[in-house]
């Protein structure tokens, strides 16, 4: 029984790691007021970049770095479209999600089915994700840049009149969100399932987006949320092993989870803690 429980917990932690990484990233850009629904796509390109580097050079460090850079670049594209060109952030984010999945699938053709002979360990990722949650909490609540970031997400006009460069803060936050989504992708293709298959992100990016809402934009609660959803994931796989239920239904599970997350968040009324300027473009002189 104890063994069963421990196994459940370790699996939950490893399921939860990419969720936590990606949602911490999304949390930071949302605290700065920018919505980026493209997490799934950024994760996919990150996963492919990491896998490509790792299988060609066998340098996991470089693989992780490139995954983060690629994720950040993809996010900056979203930033340019929504912050500078002021296109609709939701549509742009959805487009990024699909674009990322498509690009990763296309460029990943030559790796399809390939596996990594020296998988990276999971533990460093998990520990880093947990530590990052604490660091981010400290950053947001006990540093000046953290205050600036939160203020930009709450009332960009107020920050602007005090000399804060709202655009720069938002671009940085978006890039950070992309980098962490890329890192989550790297975890998937280097450690969690050291192989490349098209669509290996399997809806985790969407859950990460929903998780940010579920945990009320708090990095510490994101840890609990990620473990909780990790457990649900684990249970899902256990059920899948034992039952006669068609696998298609299980394939739909992540998306069902998103709905469940949002419903739970609605019940808990955590939307009330959303950054006040979330999803609203800012241009000086227009209020």
């Amino acid at each position: 029984m104890m063994e069963e429980f421990l196994q459940a917990l370790t699996r939950a932690l490893s399921f939860g790691t990419p969720l936590l990484l990606a949602s911490l990233g999304a949390l930071v850009n949302e605290r700065a007021g920018v919505v980026n629904l493209g997490v799934e796509g950024m994760m996919a390109v990150g996963a492919l970049a990491a896998f490509g580097v790792a299988s060609e050079t066998e340098a996991p460090g470089a693989a992780v770095c490139l995954a983060m850079a690629v994720g950040a670049l993809a996010a900056l594209l979203h930033g340019f479209v929504t912050l500078t060109l002021r296109a609709n952030a939701y549509v742009s984010g959805l487009a990024l999600a699909m674009l990322g999945l498509g690009v990763a699938g296309l460029l990943g053709k030559r790796y399809e089915g390939a596996i990594l002979f020296e998988p990276a360990p999971e533990l460093p990722f998990t520990v880093a994700a947990g530590a990052l949650a604490v660091v981010l909490w400290g950053f947001l609540h006990a540093t000046r840049p953290g205050l600036v970031l939160r203020s930009v997400g709450e009332n960009p006009a107020a920050a602007d009149v005090l000399g804060v460069n709202v655009m720069a803060v938002r671009y940085l936050a978006v890039a950070f969100g992309g980098a962490l989504a890329g890192l989550a992708g790297a975890f998937l293709s280097l450690a969690y399932r050291p192989a490349w298959t098209d669509g290996m992100t399997a809806g985790l990016g969407w859950i990460a987006v929903a998780l940010v809402i579920f945990v009320g934009w708090s990095p510490l609660r994101a840890v609990l949320g990620a473990v909780f959803f990790g457990l649900l994931y684990y249970l899902q796989f256990r059920l899948q092993d034992q039952s006669q239920v068609p696998t298609e239904l299980f394939a739909a599970m992540p998306y069902l989870l998103v709905v469940v997350v949002l419903a739970l968040a609605g019940l808990r009324r955590t939307q009330g803690s959303a950054p006040a300027a979330l999803g609203r473009p800012y241009h000086r002189g227009e209020r």
Binding site: R144, L147, R150, N155, V161, L162, G285
Partner: protein, 502 residues
């Protein structure tokens, strides 16, 4: 005239926007230790001038001289570095953060900002400032006056030497106005140059040292407040004499509206109006005052058919419960909502906005809309209510606030209503439009229309109302005949929990 050189000088500032010359060769001097008022109607160019000072707009031509040196102010941050700070009409604060966090956002020093370090630093720096505030309170829990004090404090912490206040009293209760001007007097004594923008003549006359009057983008006068008179300022502002307001006629006998034990809940499901009862006679204007959020919004929405309520509301004996706004309008209840945007569709044309009440009834031709009649009706209303618009087909959003308000009133009054519910009917509207709105309400009341007037402007309330009442945390105090209460007492009713006479 002045011996010391000005701290800040605007010299021949011109700025145009497409189709409008907002500032036409305006020159003003601001001296240290002086309170300077900028007075003018909506559209006179006050806001543009302020935005130029604050770096939000660049002038097309002309110069800004700070301590005699020409300067460029390209952004609010640059203005702040020069020592020019703005206290905007609607506070630019992060509502969910604490007072301390809002102050810290403007300070440049220190990377690590734990709560304790922040508080210690601020206490040290605020030691010699008389404006005391609770540093750990959340801004959303502060009153409008406290928020304003916080903005002033933040400006001082950033080393402001020129303080610009945009209509500072428009959001304050009467009790908060006097302390504000005391603070400004203190700051003046410390050598600050203070500029405040206003269209309230009395406060300008009693609290400013110098007054600059703008009209249609031009400076039409600069006078010392000691020598200026009320009439003189009105003449300068309007370019004509003020039209005297018609007198209130006594209310007629009978009961038009009877409200008994009205209970209304807010959006959050909390009680917002707690058992309000009052009656309104034909031809009577009942003024209800209250600090924002005291339940007046919910009271109005309940009576206008926008919010469910418990208790009774009867219009000449007929219950109003469960009727939609359209059904209410058909029974003679008109509504001028608080937010002009809530009462209009800015992207649609003036004619369409004027037809919003009648397109399903009078303007209907079979399943279609009689557009010809709609435009004819619009043209008539535009003339009758002197709505300044390029034409009936122009989108409403192009009109100034005063003209949008004229259009709303024109639409609501067109059906000869028996009851008009009007919320802040002159908020943000200039002297000319205010005159007209007041005249309309009084005239219509003379003809028998009842008016429920909800306003924060006590001058307006007393000028227009037969009886006045105050809402305090959802409880209605009063009504009393307007002659039996004064300003001070009604102000206390709006803000204080204990009041014997309630």
């Amino acid at each position: 005239m002045e011996t010391s050189p000005p701290l800040l000088r605007l010299s021949n500032i011109t700025r145009s926007f497409p189709g409008v010359l907002a500032n036409d060769r305006v020159s003003v001097d601001f001296h240290a230790g002086e309170v300077h008022a900028l007075l003018g109607e909506n559209g006179a160019g006050k806001t543009t001038l302020m935005n130029i000072l604050y770096g939000l707009h660049a002038p097309d031509s002309g110069e800004l001289l700070f301590e005699g040196r020409p300067v460029r102010v390209g952004s609010p941050a640059q203005a702040l570095r020069l020592g020019i700070a703005l206290v905007p009409q609607h506070p630019l604060l992060v509502e969910r953060h604490t007072v301390a966090e809002n102050l810290a956002l403007g300070l440049r020093d220190g990377l690590l900002l734990t709560r304790r370090r922040l508080l210690a630093k601020l206490r040290e720096r605020l030691a010699d400032h008389p404006l005391q505030v609770d540093l750990e309170a959340r801004v959303e829990s502060l009153s409008a006056g406290q928020k304003q004090r916080l903005e002033i404090l933040r400006a001082l912490l950033q080393g402001a030497r020129v303080l610009i206040l945009d209509e500072p009293t428009s959001v304050l209760t009467p009790q908060e106005v006097a302390p504000l001007f005391q603070q400004l007097a203190q700051l003046k004594a410390q050598g600050m140059a203070i500029l405040f923008i206003s269209h309230k003549l009395d406060e300008v006359l009693s609290h400013a040292d110098r007054i600059t009057v703008l009209r249609a983008g031009r400076k039409v006068g600069e006078l010392s407040a000691r020598e200026a008179t009320h009439e003189q300022l009105v003449r300068l502002m309007l370019g004509r004499e003020a039209v005297p307001r018609p007198r209130l006629a006594p209310a007629q006998p009978g009961v038009r509206l009877e409200v008994t034990n009205l209970e209304v809940r807010s959006d959050r499901g909390l009680p917002a109006v707690r058992g309000a009862s009052f009656t309104l006679a034909p031809g009577e204007i009942l003024g209800i005052a209250g600090v924002a959020g005291s339940g007046q919004g919910e009271l109005v929405e309940a009576l206008a058919g926008l919010r469910p309520f418990r208790g009774q509301a009867r219009l000449e004996g007929e219950p109003l419960e469960g009727l939609s706004p359209a059904q209410l309008f058909a029974r003679g209840v008109a509504h001028v909502p608080e937010e002009r945007r809530a009462g209009t569709v800015p992207a649609m044309s003036v004619a369409e906005n004027l037809a919003l009440r009648t397109f399903r009834t009078a303007l209907r031709r079979g399943p279609w809309l009689d557009r010809e009649r709609m435009e004819r009706q619009a043209t008539e209303l535009i003339q009758a209510y002197q709505i300044a618009t390029p034409g009936p087909r122009a989108p409403l959003r192009l009109l100034s606030g005063g003209n949008i308000q004229r259009a709303v009133l024109a639409r609501e009054l067109a059906g000869a209503p028996r009851l008009l519910i009007a919320v802040h009917p002159t908020y943000g509207v200039d002297v000319g439009a205010t005159e007209q709105v007041h005249r309309l309400l009084i005239q219509r009341a003379r003809e028998g229309m009842s008016v429920l007037l909800v306003t924060e402007d006590l001058d307006e309330l007393f000028a227009l109302s037969h009886r006045v009442a105050a809402l305090y945390q959802g409880a209605l105090r009063g009504p009393w005949p307007a002659g039996e209460v004064d300003f001070e007492r009604l102000g206390r009713m709006m803000t204080q929990a204990a009041e014997g006479a309630a």
